[in-house]
Amino acid sequence: MVVTVGGQQALDLVARIFLDPGDVVLAEGPTYVGALGVFQAAQAQVVHVPMDGDGLVPEALEQAIAEVARSGRRAKFLYTIPTFQNPAGVTLTEERRERVLDICERAGLLVVEDDPYGQLSFDGEAPAPLRSRRRDGVFYLSTFSKTFAPGMRVGWILAPHAVREKLVIASEAQILCPSAYAQAAIATYLSTMPWREQLKTYREIYRERRDALLAALADLMPAGTSWTEPKGGLFVWATLPQGLDAKAMMPRSIAARVAYVPGTGFYADGTGAGHMRLNFSFPPPERIREGVRRLAGVMEQELAMRQVFGAMGGHAARRRGQAAADAPDPGLA
Protein backbone atom coordinates (compact mmCIF):
# COMPACT_ATOMS: atom_id res chain seq x y z
CA MET A 1 0.00 0.00 0.00
CA VAL A 2 1.13 3.55 -0.75
CA VAL A 3 -0.50 6.30 1.29
CA THR A 4 -1.35 9.41 -0.74
CA VAL A 5 -2.75 12.90 -0.29
CA GLY A 6 -6.33 11.83 -1.01
CA GLY A 7 -7.47 9.86 -4.04
CA GLN A 8 -6.52 12.75 -6.30
CA GLN A 9 -2.77 12.39 -5.70
CA ALA A 10 -3.17 8.65 -6.17
CA LEU A 11 -4.62 9.28 -9.62
CA ASP A 12 -1.92 11.79 -10.43
CA LEU A 13 0.84 9.35 -9.47
CA VAL A 14 -0.58 6.60 -11.66
CA ALA A 15 -0.85 9.06 -14.55
CA ARG A 16 2.71 10.32 -14.05
CA ILE A 17 4.15 6.82 -14.05
CA PHE A 18 2.23 5.40 -16.97
CA LEU A 19 1.14 8.11 -19.33
CA ASP A 20 3.14 9.63 -22.15
CA PRO A 21 1.69 12.40 -24.31
CA GLY A 22 -0.69 10.91 -26.88
CA ASP A 23 -1.40 7.75 -24.90
CA VAL A 24 -5.00 6.62 -24.65
CA VAL A 25 -6.87 6.11 -21.38
CA LEU A 26 -10.13 4.19 -21.55
CA ALA A 27 -12.73 5.45 -19.10
CA GLU A 28 -16.44 5.19 -18.53
CA GLY A 29 -18.52 7.85 -20.25
CA PRO A 30 -19.36 9.86 -18.20
CA THR A 31 -16.53 9.75 -15.68
CA TYR A 32 -15.08 11.62 -12.70
CA VAL A 33 -14.23 15.18 -13.71
CA GLY A 34 -11.08 15.26 -11.53
CA ALA A 35 -9.69 12.24 -13.38
CA LEU A 36 -10.28 13.93 -16.73
CA GLY A 37 -8.22 16.88 -15.47
CA VAL A 38 -5.34 14.61 -14.46
CA PHE A 39 -5.36 12.76 -17.80
CA GLN A 40 -5.57 16.03 -19.71
CA ALA A 41 -2.57 17.40 -17.78
CA ALA A 42 -0.67 14.27 -18.79
CA GLN A 43 -1.63 15.03 -22.43
CA ALA A 44 -3.39 11.70 -22.73
CA GLN A 45 -6.51 11.13 -24.83
CA VAL A 46 -9.56 9.78 -23.08
CA VAL A 47 -11.71 7.33 -25.01
CA HIS A 48 -15.08 6.88 -23.32
CA VAL A 49 -16.70 3.48 -22.99
CA PRO A 50 -20.50 3.48 -22.55
CA MET A 51 -22.34 2.18 -19.48
CA ASP A 52 -25.87 0.99 -18.93
CA GLY A 53 -27.72 0.25 -15.71
CA ASP A 54 -25.29 -2.62 -14.97
CA GLY A 55 -22.19 -0.44 -15.35
CA LEU A 56 -19.52 -0.55 -18.04
CA VAL A 57 -20.68 -2.54 -21.10
CA PRO A 58 -18.10 -5.32 -21.71
CA GLU A 59 -18.80 -5.55 -25.45
CA ALA A 60 -18.25 -1.82 -25.77
CA LEU A 61 -14.98 -2.15 -23.89
CA GLU A 62 -13.76 -4.84 -26.29
CA GLN A 63 -14.78 -2.70 -29.21
CA ALA A 64 -13.01 0.38 -27.81
CA ILE A 65 -9.78 -1.59 -27.21
CA ALA A 66 -9.90 -2.88 -30.78
CA GLU A 67 -10.59 0.54 -32.25
CA VAL A 68 -7.74 2.16 -30.34
CA ALA A 69 -5.38 -0.60 -31.52
CA ARG A 70 -6.58 -0.21 -35.11
CA SER A 71 -5.89 3.53 -35.00
CA GLY A 72 -2.26 2.76 -34.11
CA ARG A 73 -2.54 4.30 -30.66
CA ARG A 74 -1.80 2.62 -27.40
CA ALA A 75 -4.26 2.31 -24.52
CA LYS A 76 -2.33 2.31 -21.24
CA PHE A 77 -5.09 1.52 -18.80
CA LEU A 78 -8.79 1.37 -18.11
CA TYR A 79 -9.82 3.94 -15.52
CA THR A 80 -13.01 2.76 -13.87
CA ILE A 81 -15.20 3.57 -10.87
CA PRO A 82 -17.07 0.26 -10.79
CA THR A 83 -19.01 0.85 -7.59
CA PHE A 84 -21.58 3.67 -7.26
CA GLN A 85 -19.96 5.42 -10.17
CA ASN A 86 -19.34 9.15 -10.20
CA PRO A 87 -21.35 10.71 -11.81
CA ALA A 88 -23.68 7.97 -13.11
CA GLY A 89 -24.43 6.27 -9.77
CA VAL A 90 -24.48 2.81 -11.39
CA THR A 91 -22.56 -0.29 -10.22
CA LEU A 92 -20.77 -2.91 -12.29
CA THR A 93 -22.51 -6.23 -11.65
CA GLU A 94 -20.71 -9.32 -10.28
CA GLU A 95 -20.91 -11.10 -13.60
CA ARG A 96 -19.55 -8.13 -15.54
CA ARG A 97 -16.66 -7.65 -13.10
CA GLU A 98 -15.21 -10.99 -14.18
CA ARG A 99 -15.78 -10.24 -17.85
CA VAL A 100 -14.22 -6.79 -17.69
CA LEU A 101 -11.16 -8.22 -15.91
CA ASP A 102 -10.86 -11.02 -18.46
CA ILE A 103 -11.07 -8.59 -21.36
CA CYS A 104 -8.40 -6.34 -19.87
CA GLU A 105 -6.16 -9.30 -19.05
CA ARG A 106 -6.38 -10.62 -22.61
CA ALA A 107 -5.61 -7.17 -24.02
CA GLY A 108 -2.71 -6.62 -21.61
CA LEU A 109 -4.51 -3.55 -20.29
CA LEU A 110 -3.95 -2.37 -16.72
CA VAL A 111 -7.02 -1.51 -14.65
CA VAL A 112 -7.11 1.54 -12.39
CA GLU A 113 -10.00 0.95 -10.01
CA ASP A 114 -11.13 4.10 -8.24
CA ASP A 115 -13.29 3.21 -5.24
CA PRO A 116 -14.14 6.19 -3.04
CA TYR A 117 -17.77 5.16 -2.46
CA GLY A 118 -17.71 1.36 -2.02
CA GLN A 119 -18.32 1.65 1.73
CA LEU A 120 -21.45 3.72 1.17
CA SER A 121 -23.87 1.01 0.08
CA PHE A 122 -27.54 1.32 0.97
CA ASP A 123 -29.03 -1.99 -0.08
CA GLY A 124 -26.76 -4.78 1.16
CA GLU A 125 -23.03 -5.02 0.52
CA ALA A 126 -21.51 -3.73 -2.69
CA PRO A 127 -19.86 -6.28 -5.01
CA ALA A 128 -16.25 -7.02 -4.03
CA PRO A 129 -13.69 -4.71 -5.66
CA LEU A 130 -11.95 -5.74 -8.88
CA ARG A 131 -8.66 -5.74 -6.98
CA SER A 132 -9.87 -8.51 -4.69
CA ARG A 133 -10.29 -10.73 -7.77
CA ARG A 134 -6.96 -9.97 -9.50
CA ARG A 135 -3.99 -8.80 -7.48
CA ASP A 136 -1.86 -8.24 -10.55
CA GLY A 137 -2.95 -5.84 -13.20
CA VAL A 138 -5.29 -3.85 -10.95
CA PHE A 139 -4.45 -0.62 -9.13
CA TYR A 140 -6.91 0.06 -6.35
CA LEU A 141 -7.36 3.69 -5.30
CA SER A 142 -9.40 4.79 -2.33
CA THR A 143 -9.70 7.58 0.18
CA PHE A 144 -11.01 8.56 3.61
CA SER A 145 -12.67 11.61 2.04
CA LYS A 146 -16.13 10.05 1.85
CA THR A 147 -15.98 7.97 5.04
CA PHE A 148 -14.11 10.25 7.48
CA ALA A 149 -13.43 13.78 6.22
CA PRO A 150 -12.41 15.16 2.81
CA GLY A 151 -10.23 17.82 4.44
CA MET A 152 -7.90 15.19 5.93
CA ARG A 153 -6.58 14.47 2.42
CA VAL A 154 -5.62 10.86 3.09
CA GLY A 155 -5.99 8.20 0.43
CA TRP A 156 -4.13 5.12 -0.69
CA ILE A 157 -3.14 2.93 -3.61
CA LEU A 158 -2.88 -0.83 -3.63
CA ALA A 159 -0.49 -1.43 -6.50
CA PRO A 160 0.89 -4.52 -8.20
CA HIS A 161 4.14 -5.39 -6.46
CA ALA A 162 6.36 -4.53 -9.42
CA VAL A 163 5.39 -0.87 -9.51
CA ARG A 164 4.87 -0.07 -5.85
CA GLU A 165 8.41 1.33 -5.49
CA LYS A 166 7.91 3.52 -8.54
CA LEU A 167 4.84 5.06 -6.93
CA VAL A 168 6.79 5.73 -3.71
CA ILE A 169 9.63 7.41 -5.61
CA ALA A 170 7.23 9.51 -7.70
CA SER A 171 5.36 10.54 -4.56
CA GLU A 172 8.60 11.49 -2.79
CA ALA A 173 9.60 13.63 -5.76
CA GLN A 174 6.24 15.32 -5.63
CA ILE A 175 5.46 15.82 -1.95
CA LEU A 176 8.18 13.99 0.11
CA CYS A 177 5.45 12.35 2.16
CA PRO A 178 1.77 12.78 2.96
CA SER A 179 0.93 14.54 6.22
CA ALA A 180 1.88 12.29 9.15
CA TYR A 181 -0.43 14.33 11.35
CA ALA A 182 -3.48 13.55 9.21
CA GLN A 183 -2.54 9.87 9.09
CA ALA A 184 -2.11 9.78 12.88
CA ALA A 185 -5.52 11.38 13.35
CA ILE A 186 -7.14 8.78 11.09
CA ALA A 187 -5.19 5.90 12.73
CA THR A 188 -6.42 7.05 16.13
CA TYR A 189 -9.96 7.40 14.83
CA LEU A 190 -9.92 3.90 13.35
CA SER A 191 -8.39 2.28 16.45
CA THR A 192 -10.37 4.09 19.16
CA MET A 193 -13.73 5.09 17.69
CA PRO A 194 -16.70 2.98 16.53
CA TRP A 195 -16.14 3.80 12.87
CA ARG A 196 -18.16 0.88 11.60
CA GLU A 197 -21.17 2.22 13.47
CA GLN A 198 -20.46 5.67 12.02
CA LEU A 199 -20.45 4.19 8.53
CA LYS A 200 -23.85 2.64 9.21
CA THR A 201 -25.12 6.09 10.21
CA TYR A 202 -23.77 7.60 7.00
CA ARG A 203 -25.42 4.88 4.97
CA GLU A 204 -28.74 5.50 6.68
CA ILE A 205 -28.52 9.25 6.15
CA TYR A 206 -27.58 8.90 2.50
CA ARG A 207 -30.16 6.19 1.87
CA GLU A 208 -32.89 8.47 3.23
CA ARG A 209 -31.66 11.29 0.99
CA ARG A 210 -31.43 9.08 -2.07
CA ASP A 211 -34.99 7.89 -1.43
CA ALA A 212 -36.14 11.50 -1.07
CA LEU A 213 -34.46 12.44 -4.34
CA LEU A 214 -35.84 9.48 -6.29
CA ALA A 215 -39.34 10.09 -4.93
CA ALA A 216 -39.19 13.81 -5.75
CA LEU A 217 -37.90 13.10 -9.27
CA ALA A 218 -40.70 10.61 -9.88
CA ASP A 219 -43.31 13.08 -8.61
CA LEU A 220 -42.08 16.31 -10.14
CA MET A 221 -39.87 15.88 -13.20
CA PRO A 222 -41.32 16.76 -16.61
CA ALA A 223 -42.16 13.90 -18.97
CA GLY A 224 -39.18 12.68 -20.96
CA THR A 225 -36.75 12.94 -18.05
CA SER A 226 -35.05 9.77 -16.83
CA TRP A 227 -32.48 9.03 -14.14
CA THR A 228 -30.40 6.29 -12.58
CA GLU A 229 -31.31 4.63 -9.27
CA PRO A 230 -28.06 4.24 -7.31
CA LYS A 231 -27.69 1.56 -4.64
CA GLY A 232 -25.03 3.59 -2.87
CA GLY A 233 -22.72 6.55 -3.19
CA LEU A 234 -23.73 10.16 -3.62
CA PHE A 235 -25.01 10.70 -7.14
CA VAL A 236 -27.97 10.39 -9.48
CA TRP A 237 -27.40 10.93 -13.20
CA ALA A 238 -30.38 12.49 -14.93
CA THR A 239 -31.11 12.53 -18.65
CA LEU A 240 -33.10 15.55 -19.80
CA PRO A 241 -36.02 15.57 -22.21
CA GLN A 242 -34.95 15.81 -25.85
CA GLY A 243 -33.69 19.25 -26.79
CA LEU A 244 -32.80 20.52 -23.31
CA ASP A 245 -29.22 21.56 -22.69
CA ALA A 246 -28.10 21.39 -19.05
CA LYS A 247 -25.33 23.93 -19.54
CA ALA A 248 -27.50 26.47 -21.40
CA MET A 249 -30.14 26.10 -18.68
CA MET A 250 -27.66 26.89 -15.88
CA PRO A 251 -28.25 30.68 -15.62
CA ARG A 252 -31.99 30.16 -15.31
CA SER A 253 -31.32 27.52 -12.69
CA ILE A 254 -29.00 29.78 -10.68
CA ALA A 255 -31.70 32.47 -10.76
CA ALA A 256 -34.09 29.89 -9.26
CA ARG A 257 -31.45 29.12 -6.62
CA VAL A 258 -30.93 25.47 -7.45
CA ALA A 259 -27.71 23.99 -8.80
CA TYR A 260 -26.47 20.85 -10.51
CA VAL A 261 -23.42 19.86 -12.51
CA PRO A 262 -24.05 19.89 -16.30
CA GLY A 263 -23.15 16.58 -17.94
CA THR A 264 -20.53 18.13 -20.23
CA GLY A 265 -18.04 18.28 -17.34
CA PHE A 266 -17.86 14.49 -17.22
CA TYR A 267 -16.83 13.89 -20.81
CA ALA A 268 -13.47 14.67 -22.36
CA ASP A 269 -15.06 15.34 -25.74
CA GLY A 270 -17.62 18.02 -24.83
CA THR A 271 -20.67 15.76 -25.15
CA GLY A 272 -23.12 15.18 -22.31
CA ALA A 273 -25.13 18.43 -22.57
CA GLY A 274 -28.36 16.47 -22.30
CA HIS A 275 -27.46 15.19 -18.83
CA MET A 276 -26.88 16.45 -15.32
CA ARG A 277 -25.42 15.11 -12.08
CA LEU A 278 -27.53 15.48 -8.96
CA ASN A 279 -25.70 15.10 -5.64
CA PHE A 280 -27.97 14.07 -2.77
CA SER A 281 -25.35 13.87 0.01
CA PHE A 282 -25.70 17.26 1.68
CA PRO A 283 -29.28 18.60 1.77
CA PRO A 284 -31.82 16.99 4.10
CA PRO A 285 -34.87 15.32 2.47
CA GLU A 286 -37.19 18.34 2.58
CA ARG A 287 -34.58 20.55 0.90
CA ILE A 288 -33.96 17.89 -1.71
CA ARG A 289 -37.66 17.95 -2.58
CA GLU A 290 -37.65 21.74 -2.74
CA GLY A 291 -34.57 21.63 -4.98
CA VAL A 292 -36.22 19.18 -7.36
CA ARG A 293 -39.37 21.33 -7.38
CA ARG A 294 -37.31 24.35 -8.46
CA LEU A 295 -35.33 22.35 -10.98
CA ALA A 296 -38.53 20.95 -12.50
CA GLY A 297 -39.85 24.52 -12.77
CA VAL A 298 -36.68 25.62 -14.56
CA MET A 299 -36.96 22.69 -16.97
CA GLU A 300 -40.66 23.41 -17.64
CA GLN A 301 -39.77 27.04 -18.45
CA GLU A 302 -36.95 25.96 -20.72
CA LEU A 303 -39.19 23.45 -22.48
CA ALA A 304 -41.86 26.12 -22.95
CA MET A 305 -39.22 28.46 -24.36
CA ARG A 306 -38.04 25.87 -26.83
CA GLN A 307 -41.62 25.12 -27.77
CA VAL A 308 -42.21 28.81 -28.53
CA PHE A 309 -39.09 29.17 -30.62
CA GLY A 310 -39.79 25.94 -32.44
CA ALA A 311 -37.38 23.52 -34.00
CA MET A 312 -34.01 25.17 -33.54
CA GLY A 313 -32.40 24.38 -36.84
CA GLY A 314 -29.03 25.90 -36.03
CA HIS A 315 -25.75 24.38 -35.00
CA ALA A 316 -26.81 24.15 -31.38
CA ALA A 317 -29.61 21.71 -32.17
CA ARG A 318 -27.37 19.53 -34.30
CA ARG A 319 -24.71 19.44 -31.61
CA ARG A 320 -27.28 18.38 -29.07
CA GLY A 321 -28.55 15.64 -31.34
CA GLN A 322 -25.01 14.40 -31.76
CA ALA A 323 -24.39 14.45 -28.01
CA ALA A 324 -27.55 12.48 -27.35
CA ALA A 325 -26.49 9.86 -29.87
CA ASP A 326 -23.03 9.51 -28.36
CA ALA A 327 -23.93 9.58 -24.71
CA PRO A 328 -25.19 6.41 -23.11
CA ASP A 329 -28.22 6.59 -20.88
CA PRO A 330 -27.27 4.46 -17.91
CA GLY A 331 -30.08 2.66 -16.21
CA LEU A 332 -32.76 3.44 -18.73
CA ALA A 333 -33.43 -0.07 -19.89
Binding site: A248, F309, G310, M312, G313, H315
Partner: protein, 241 residues
Protein backbone atom coordinates in the same frame (compact mmCIF):
# COMPACT_ATOMS: atom_id res chain seq x y z
CA UNK B 1 -30.14 52.64 1.02
CA UNK B 2 -27.02 54.83 1.23
CA UNK B 3 -29.17 57.95 0.75
CA UNK B 4 -31.60 56.73 3.39
CA UNK B 5 -28.79 56.50 5.93
CA UNK B 6 -26.95 59.65 4.74
CA UNK B 7 -23.85 57.68 3.78
CA UNK B 8 -21.88 59.59 1.14
CA UNK B 9 -20.94 57.60 -1.97
CA UNK B 10 -19.20 58.02 -5.30
CA UNK B 11 -21.38 57.67 -8.37
CA UNK B 12 -24.91 58.39 -9.46
CA UNK B 13 -28.08 57.98 -7.43
CA UNK B 14 -30.27 54.90 -7.51
CA UNK B 15 -32.75 56.34 -10.00
CA UNK B 16 -30.10 57.02 -12.63
CA UNK B 17 -28.36 53.72 -11.92
CA UNK B 18 -31.61 51.84 -12.55
CA UNK B 19 -32.20 53.76 -15.73
CA UNK B 20 -28.72 53.07 -17.08
CA UNK B 21 -28.80 49.40 -16.01
CA UNK B 22 -31.92 48.70 -18.06
CA UNK B 23 -30.60 48.91 -21.60
CA UNK B 24 -33.92 49.57 -23.43
CA UNK B 25 -34.79 52.41 -21.01
CA UNK B 26 -31.32 53.91 -21.31
CA UNK B 27 -31.43 53.73 -25.11
CA UNK B 28 -34.80 55.49 -25.14
CA UNK B 29 -33.33 58.35 -23.06
CA UNK B 30 -30.28 58.56 -25.32
CA UNK B 31 -32.44 58.63 -28.45
CA UNK B 32 -34.64 61.32 -26.94
CA UNK B 33 -31.50 63.39 -26.31
CA UNK B 34 -30.43 63.00 -29.94
CA UNK B 35 -27.51 60.71 -29.11
CA UNK B 36 -26.97 58.01 -31.75
CA UNK B 37 -27.69 54.45 -30.60
CA UNK B 38 -28.43 51.45 -32.84
CA UNK B 39 -32.12 50.80 -33.65
CA UNK B 40 -33.64 48.27 -31.34
CA UNK B 41 -36.65 46.42 -30.06
CA UNK B 42 -37.07 45.09 -26.53
CA UNK B 43 -39.35 42.12 -26.08
CA UNK B 44 -40.42 40.19 -23.00
CA UNK B 45 -40.45 36.45 -23.60
CA UNK B 46 -44.17 35.99 -22.98
CA UNK B 47 -45.04 38.17 -26.02
CA UNK B 48 -43.45 35.57 -28.24
CA UNK B 49 -45.77 32.83 -27.05
CA UNK B 50 -48.77 35.12 -27.60
CA UNK B 51 -47.88 36.21 -31.11
CA UNK B 52 -45.95 33.19 -32.40
CA UNK B 53 -42.18 33.33 -32.32
CA UNK B 54 -41.54 32.76 -36.02
CA UNK B 55 -43.73 35.68 -37.09
CA UNK B 56 -42.20 38.01 -34.50
CA UNK B 57 -38.63 37.03 -35.32
CA UNK B 58 -39.25 37.47 -39.04
CA UNK B 59 -40.65 40.92 -38.36
CA UNK B 60 -37.64 41.86 -36.21
CA UNK B 61 -35.20 40.72 -38.88
CA UNK B 62 -37.17 42.66 -41.54
CA UNK B 63 -37.41 45.81 -39.45
CA UNK B 64 -33.83 46.01 -38.18
CA UNK B 65 -31.98 44.04 -40.85
CA UNK B 66 -29.17 41.56 -40.33
CA UNK B 67 -26.81 41.15 -38.61
CA UNK B 68 -28.39 41.65 -35.20
CA UNK B 69 -27.09 41.81 -31.66
CA UNK B 70 -29.20 39.97 -29.07
CA UNK B 71 -28.62 40.65 -25.38
CA UNK B 72 -30.49 40.51 -22.09
CA UNK B 73 -32.20 43.84 -21.28
CA UNK B 74 -30.32 43.86 -17.98
CA UNK B 75 -26.99 42.40 -17.00
CA UNK B 76 -23.37 42.75 -17.98
CA UNK B 77 -20.17 40.97 -18.91
CA UNK B 78 -21.61 39.90 -22.26
CA UNK B 79 -23.48 36.96 -20.68
CA UNK B 80 -26.38 35.79 -22.82
CA UNK B 81 -25.34 38.08 -25.68
CA UNK B 82 -24.91 36.88 -29.26
CA UNK B 83 -24.33 38.29 -32.72
CA UNK B 84 -26.82 36.88 -35.21
CA UNK B 85 -25.67 36.99 -38.82
CA UNK B 86 -28.23 34.55 -40.21
CA UNK B 87 -31.97 34.56 -39.43
CA UNK B 88 -31.94 30.82 -38.70
CA UNK B 89 -29.62 31.47 -35.73
CA UNK B 90 -32.03 33.99 -34.18
CA UNK B 91 -34.26 31.52 -32.25
CA UNK B 92 -31.24 29.94 -30.52
CA UNK B 93 -29.86 33.38 -29.65
CA UNK B 94 -33.23 34.38 -28.15
CA UNK B 95 -33.39 31.20 -26.03
CA UNK B 96 -29.80 31.80 -24.84
CA UNK B 97 -30.66 35.39 -23.96
CA UNK B 98 -33.87 34.51 -22.12
CA UNK B 99 -31.88 32.24 -19.82
CA UNK B 100 -30.46 35.45 -18.29
CA UNK B 101 -33.40 37.84 -18.37
CA UNK B 102 -37.10 37.76 -19.17
CA UNK B 103 -36.67 40.66 -21.61
CA UNK B 104 -34.41 40.59 -24.65
CA UNK B 105 -32.91 43.59 -26.38
CA UNK B 106 -32.46 43.02 -30.10
CA UNK B 107 -30.53 45.76 -31.85
CA UNK B 108 -29.05 46.38 -35.25
CA UNK B 109 -25.45 45.22 -35.23
CA UNK B 110 -23.12 48.08 -36.11
CA UNK B 111 -19.77 47.01 -37.47
CA UNK B 112 -16.79 49.10 -36.48
CA UNK B 113 -14.31 49.78 -33.73
CA UNK B 114 -15.31 48.91 -30.15
CA UNK B 115 -14.34 51.73 -27.82
CA UNK B 116 -14.98 52.50 -24.18
CA UNK B 117 -14.86 56.08 -23.00
CA UNK B 118 -14.53 56.73 -19.29
CA UNK B 119 -16.13 59.95 -18.11
CA UNK B 120 -14.99 61.51 -14.83
CA UNK B 121 -16.04 64.69 -13.07
CA UNK B 122 -13.35 66.09 -10.78
CA UNK B 123 -15.33 69.23 -9.98
CA UNK B 124 -15.15 71.08 -13.26
CA UNK B 125 -17.87 69.16 -15.10
CA UNK B 126 -17.74 65.76 -16.79
CA UNK B 127 -14.57 65.17 -18.82
CA UNK B 128 -13.91 62.29 -21.21
CA UNK B 129 -10.68 60.39 -20.73
CA UNK B 130 -8.94 59.03 -23.85
CA UNK B 131 -11.02 56.32 -25.53
CA UNK B 132 -9.81 52.74 -25.08
CA UNK B 133 -10.04 50.58 -28.20
CA UNK B 134 -11.02 46.96 -27.68
CA UNK B 135 -9.83 44.35 -30.18
CA UNK B 136 -11.26 40.91 -29.38
CA UNK B 137 -9.28 38.24 -31.21
CA UNK B 138 -12.39 36.44 -32.50
CA UNK B 139 -14.21 39.67 -33.37
CA UNK B 140 -16.81 39.62 -30.60
CA UNK B 141 -16.22 41.07 -27.13
CA UNK B 142 -18.14 38.34 -25.32
CA UNK B 143 -17.73 36.86 -21.86
CA UNK B 144 -14.73 34.71 -22.78
CA UNK B 145 -13.03 37.61 -24.58
CA UNK B 146 -13.48 39.80 -21.50
CA UNK B 147 -12.15 37.42 -18.91
CA UNK B 148 -9.67 35.13 -20.68
CA UNK B 149 -6.13 36.47 -20.74
CA UNK B 150 -4.83 36.88 -24.28
CA UNK B 151 -8.17 36.83 -26.10
CA UNK B 152 -8.41 40.61 -26.31
CA UNK B 153 -5.95 43.42 -26.91
CA UNK B 154 -6.50 47.06 -25.99
CA UNK B 155 -5.19 50.31 -27.42
CA UNK B 156 -5.22 53.35 -25.17
CA UNK B 157 -5.71 55.86 -26.58
CA UNK B 158 -7.81 54.32 -29.37
CA UNK B 159 -6.45 54.57 -32.89
CA UNK B 160 -8.86 57.33 -33.95
CA UNK B 161 -8.24 60.52 -35.92
CA UNK B 162 -8.30 63.74 -33.88
CA UNK B 163 -11.69 64.84 -35.21
CA UNK B 164 -13.27 61.44 -34.61
CA UNK B 165 -11.77 61.25 -31.13
CA UNK B 166 -13.32 64.63 -30.34
CA UNK B 167 -16.77 63.56 -31.59
CA UNK B 168 -16.51 60.30 -29.62
CA UNK B 169 -15.56 62.20 -26.44
CA UNK B 170 -18.42 64.67 -26.89
CA UNK B 171 -20.88 61.84 -27.48
CA UNK B 172 -19.74 60.04 -24.31
CA UNK B 173 -20.15 63.20 -22.21
CA UNK B 174 -23.59 63.78 -23.75
CA UNK B 175 -24.64 60.21 -22.85
CA UNK B 176 -23.32 60.61 -19.29
CA UNK B 177 -25.26 63.86 -18.91
CA UNK B 178 -28.46 62.64 -20.57
CA UNK B 179 -28.69 59.70 -18.17
CA UNK B 180 -28.19 62.02 -15.18
CA UNK B 181 -24.95 60.30 -14.11
CA UNK B 182 -22.49 61.67 -11.58
CA UNK B 183 -18.76 61.41 -10.76
CA UNK B 184 -17.83 58.68 -13.20
CA UNK B 185 -19.16 56.31 -15.83
CA UNK B 186 -17.97 54.30 -18.77
CA UNK B 187 -19.69 54.72 -22.12
CA UNK B 188 -19.35 51.81 -24.56
CA UNK B 189 -19.59 52.78 -28.21
CA UNK B 190 -19.01 51.52 -31.71
CA UNK B 191 -17.27 53.85 -34.15
CA UNK B 192 -18.42 52.93 -37.65
CA UNK B 193 -16.39 53.10 -40.85
CA UNK B 194 -17.43 56.72 -41.39
CA UNK B 195 -16.19 57.68 -37.93
CA UNK B 196 -19.67 58.06 -36.46
CA UNK B 197 -20.11 56.92 -32.85
CA UNK B 198 -23.06 54.75 -31.75
CA UNK B 199 -23.65 54.40 -28.02
CA UNK B 200 -24.34 50.81 -26.96
CA UNK B 201 -24.61 51.11 -23.21
CA UNK B 202 -23.33 53.01 -20.21
CA UNK B 203 -21.90 51.53 -17.04
CA UNK B 204 -22.42 53.56 -13.85
CA UNK B 205 -19.98 51.39 -11.96
CA UNK B 206 -17.05 50.70 -14.29
CA UNK B 207 -14.62 47.90 -13.53
CA UNK B 208 -11.63 48.97 -11.44
CA UNK B 209 -9.34 45.95 -11.62
CA UNK B 210 -5.86 46.08 -13.11
CA UNK B 211 -7.13 44.94 -16.50
CA UNK B 212 -10.32 47.02 -16.55
CA UNK B 213 -10.90 49.77 -19.07
CA UNK B 214 -11.23 52.78 -16.75
CA UNK B 215 -7.74 52.36 -15.22
CA UNK B 216 -6.32 51.98 -18.75
CA UNK B 217 -7.95 55.27 -19.74
CA UNK B 218 -6.66 57.00 -16.59
CA UNK B 219 -3.17 55.84 -17.43
CA UNK B 220 -3.50 56.98 -21.04
CA UNK B 221 -4.59 60.42 -19.77
CA UNK B 222 -1.41 60.64 -17.71
CA UNK B 223 -3.40 60.84 -14.49
CA UNK B 224 -2.65 59.10 -11.21
CA UNK B 225 -5.37 56.55 -10.51
CA UNK B 226 -5.08 56.89 -6.72
CA UNK B 227 -5.25 60.69 -6.84
CA UNK B 228 -8.25 60.58 -9.18
CA UNK B 229 -10.11 58.25 -6.82
CA UNK B 230 -9.17 60.43 -3.84
CA UNK B 231 -10.62 63.46 -5.65
CA UNK B 232 -13.87 61.61 -6.40
CA UNK B 233 -14.17 60.37 -2.82
CA UNK B 234 -13.42 63.86 -1.47
CA UNK B 235 -16.14 65.34 -3.66
CA UNK B 236 -18.64 62.72 -2.55
CA UNK B 237 -17.80 63.35 1.12
CA UNK B 238 -18.22 67.12 0.75
CA UNK B 239 -21.51 66.65 -1.08
CA UNK B 240 -23.12 65.11 2.01
CA UNK B 241 -22.10 67.87 4.41
Amino acid sequence: MLDLYDVPYVGCDARSARLAWDKPSAKAVLQEAGIPTPDWVALPHDRFSELGAVAVLDRIADRLGLPLMVKPAQGGSGLGAAVVRDATALPAAMVGCFAYDSTALVERYVAGMDVAVSVVDQGDGPQALPAVEIVPRNGVYDYAARYTAGLTTWHAPARLGTDTATVVAETAIAAHTALGLRDLSRVDLIVDAEGRPHVLEVSVSPGMTETSLLPLAVQAAGLDFGKLLATLVGRAARRSI
